[in-house]
Assembly symmetry: C7
Amino acid sequence: MFRNQYDTDVTTWSPAGRLFQVEYAMEAVKQGSAAIGLRSRTHIVLGCVNKANSELSSHQKKIFKVDDHIGVAIAGLTADGRVLSRYMRNECINYSFTYESPLPVGRLVVQLADKAQVCTQRSWKRPYGVGLLVAGLDESGAHLYYNCPSGNYFEYQAFSIGSRSQAAKTYLERRFENFTDACGMIWSRMLLWQ
Amino acid sequence: MFRNQYDTDVTTWSPAGRLFQVEYAMEAVKQGSAAIGLRSRTHIVLGCVNKANSELSSHQKKIFKVDDHIGVAIAGLTADGRVLSRYMRNECINYSFTYESPLPVGRLVVQLADKAQVCTQRSWKRPYGVGLLVAGLDESGAHLYYNCPSGNYFEYQAFSIGSRSQAAKTYLERRFENFTDACGMIWSRMLLWQ
Amino acid sequence: MFRNQYDTDVTTWSPAGRLFQVEYAMEAVKQGSAAIGLRSRTHIVLGCVNKANSELSSHQKKIFKVDDHIGVAIAGLTADGRVLSRYMRNECINYSFTYESPLPVGRLVVQLADKAQVCTQRSWKRPYGVGLLVAGLDESGAHLYYNCPSGNYFEYQAFSIGSRSQAAKTYLERRFENFTDACGMIWSRMLLWQ
Amino acid sequence: MFRNQYDTDVTTWSPAGRLFQVEYAMEAVKQGSAAIGLRSRTHIVLGCVNKANSELSSHQKKIFKVDDHIGVAIAGLTADGRVLSRYMRNECINYSFTYESPLPVGRLVVQLADKAQVCTQRSWKRPYGVGLLVAGLDESGAHLYYNCPSGNYFEYQAFSIGSRSQAAKTYLERRFENFTDACGMIWSRMLLWQ
Amino acid sequence: MFRNQYDTDVTTWSPAGRLFQVEYAMEAVKQGSAAIGLRSRTHIVLGCVNKANSELSSHQKKIFKVDDHIGVAIAGLTADGRVLSRYMRNECINYSFTYESPLPVGRLVVQLADKAQVCTQRSWKRPYGVGLLVAGLDESGAHLYYNCPSGNYFEYQAFSIGSRSQAAKTYLERRFENFTDACGMIWSRMLLWQ
Amino acid sequence: MFRNQYDTDVTTWSPAGRLFQVEYAMEAVKQGSAAIGLRSRTHIVLGCVNKANSELSSHQKKIFKVDDHIGVAIAGLTADGRVLSRYMRNECINYSFTYESPLPVGRLVVQLADKAQVCTQRSWKRPYGVGLLVAGLDESGAHLYYNCPSGNYFEYQAFSIGSRSQAAKTYLERRFENFTDACGMIWSRMLLWQ
Amino acid sequence: MFRNQYDTDVTTWSPAGRLFQVEYAMEAVKQGSAAIGLRSRTHIVLGCVNKANSELSSHQKKIFKVDDHIGVAIAGLTADGRVLSRYMRNECINYSFTYESPLPVGRLVVQLADKAQVCTQRSWKRPYGVGLLVAGLDESGAHLYYNCPSGNYFEYQAFSIGSRSQAAKTYLERRFENFTDACGMIWSRMLLWQ
């Protein structure tokens, strides 16, 4: 009963100060197939679960190259994720054309988050239904960010999103100190999904 | 009861993180008469079921030529499909005029998917009610894509959409390894629809 | 009960993948007074039932000349039909002014269908409530098309729309092979409506 | 019960293919005070019932001169009628300025009908609540048209609109053959309203 | 019950062909404090009831000078009336600047009525909640008009609007023939409100 | 029951000719902390009740200087009041820049009222929730106006708005004749709020 | 029951003169993790509670540098806060570019509050769900402001917002007189959060 009134419009606050539509969009991320990211000092690894729809189909692309130094893995609505990664690609191209240097990862992540925030404050739009793990290397080192539909972003050493990501998160927290280099990370990832 | 609240507006998320209007539009594809696509290394075949409305009517066109190297077969709302194939035609013409080479199939498919995604994020529009099997030949070989109303696309070796497409899909998965060349494919298709 | 929720807005899909508002607009065509079209290789005949509102009124115009080689007969909302036929007239004039040749019938029919499709995908509009039998002669011969409110079009040898058109359709299907020339067609039509 | 759902928005079709809001606007014409028009070969007479609101008020103007050769009588919302007749006046002035000849009556009537049709297909407007009897003389003779809120128009020899217009219509149909010249028409009209 | 459905939106017709929102706006005029206007051949007198809100407040201005030859008295929403009288002032200034002669009263009244009509045909506006008695002198003599929220206007010799205006109207109708000159009019008005 | 239907949209008239949303906005003024204004021939005093939110906060500014000769005291939504006083400041600056003389108080008050009126006639806005006591000195002497959310304004010798302003109004009406000069006014005010 | 009607749209007043949506947005601030600000004559300290989402994540940034002399701490929706702090950064840059001096803190705070007010008066937006403690040093000394979603701002010597901020406020009010210099402030803060 209580929910009926405040959770159909993205611009409506609930009496408890929550935006239900934004929370529902984050639920879409949880329902998507899992994605994972790990970061050492010099390398970042992105991975995701990909089940083909049928024997004759190729896998749906869920990891996108944004620029030479940036890549994303998505969980949730693939179409939303593709549109956002195209946006990121354009930003990278424009930046490197103007400044002749690669776009810093943190800056791109903020622009992406601002784009997501706009969709939570206009009545004729909806929040994006996709979470993005943005991995990148720039002058300040290797970075792994998680951009969520609410317009927030977080920096992680290792993170997992999507369905059944909790198990992966727990595994990562227990074992992460063992992953000292990229090889260990990749090896570990192999184990994780078996 | 549960459905009533979240499934009338395309920009409203359900508490479980689903966009019901997008799912309903995909239901429209399932209700359309079937279309099928098969791909060998060098050839692609598109087919569709066409029942004339009456003895005196011609068949409704459901396979469109987009460019010399690209064609589509549709299932669902024919009007939406025709509008989208016209859009594809324009993109092909503009590309070949500018670059003097045919538009790569994959690129066209992404543009088409982005166009569909926009319709899932504006409150005054509705998702397209049509699925498209896009077949094309370019420098990277023969391709068969399926573009669905949600803004997703998938690459297939063989796929079928529309009503009773499940039987076709099962048939294709069992027999596909036998289709080694275009002739086999066409012959097989003859059997399939009898 | 079921219908209440999904059939008041043209941009709302029903759970079964139908657009009820578009179907209701097609119902308006069925309620209109009947129109009929027949085609031989060289001639096309359009006819319609016209009851004057009173003894002192003239008949309401329901067959419009679009260009020297194209005409339409309508069933449904006359005002919508008149607006659409004016649109067709403009297209013909612009085409012949630019290319110094008459607009091919098939091309005009597609433009008309695209115009109708737009009205099924904007929340602030409504689908046109009129069906049009478009008859035309061009280099590829004589054509008879039916444009319906959903944005679809079909090519026919003979077709009838509007109220009690089913009887006409049945009659046409049984007798059509007898109509070998224009005279036969016209003669037949006389019988049909008596 | 049935009406509740489909009759509050002008862009909503009922399941039976009707636009209730347009029909309601036509009801407004029926509620207005009566207007009448008669046409001979060379003359047209417009008349209307005018009750002053009080002894001290002048009559509300319900017959408007549009141009030297065109006039209108209205029934329904006077304000809507006045706005439409101003529109007609502008069209006449622009036409005669451009072509140095009076605007043909039939052409004006079509433009007026198109303007009314637009109001039946935009969700933020409402159909005009006025019926207009347009009387005019041009090279093709004397004409009497009735423009109704749905965007339709009809040509009549004699017609009456507004409240209790049915009696007038019946009278006109029985006696019209007696009215051979303008005098007879005017004389007859005198009788009619007594 | 019946009213609930059709009387909350200004662009919704009731099944009986009425626009309830316009009628409600006219009710606002009836609730306002009374205003009165009388006209002889050469003079016009406007008056209104003005109760100060408190002993320390000045009277609220309800009679506005529009131009040297035009004035208005209002009943209803004072803010709406003030905005409309400012509009009239601008029209008068523009006219006399362009044509170097005062704006005829009748012409101004029509413009005012057209402005009010627009507010009855846009879903995002509301009808003005004010009635205006427009008094003016021009080459055709003295005029007294009443502009109401529906976009109608009426010419009167004497009229009264606002709360308890019925008594004033009755009084005026019985005594008006006695008022042969301006003095008589003013004298009479004194009596009326005592 | 009765209120439910007509009081949620600012552009909806109630059957009794009232705009409930405007009345509710005026209620917001009544809930605000009190403000008071007094006027002698040469001086004006504005005062208001200011309770700090905590011991460590400064008082919230509720009296604004608009220009050298104009000031306002507000009651209701402080944010709305601040936005309006900024608007007034701009108008004063523009006027004195253009005409090299201070903006007359009455003129500013009218502009302010017009700005408030607009918010009562657009469906996508809301009436301002603030009442303003505008005090100013110009060539015509000292003025004290009250601008309310409905777009009305009133001139007063002394007035009080906000919560428990009724007591202040009663006090002022009884004692005002004693306040012959500015000192008396200020002294009196001291008493009033103790 | 009572709340249902007036609290889903930001432009709807309740009968008691309240804007519930604005109040709900302020509730979002209360639910956010706490932030605190203290001010001496020469220094300001901002602090906030930051719990990392997991062991592998970095802390979410909740204190932003706006310019060399201004910083903010936020509580509530982080995305909204980030967007607003970016706005502030732009304003500072533009000001110092134009005037070659730092933007006064009070002026920035007013601009920020005006931006928040706009979101409370447009039906297609929502109030920002974030409270900002703005700390800054300019020629008039050290300042600490609190900007809340309603568009109000307050100046404080010490303030705390977010969940369980009441305890902090009580502590601050009791101990503030002991904090005579920056060191004391920082030391005190250490105690506060342990």
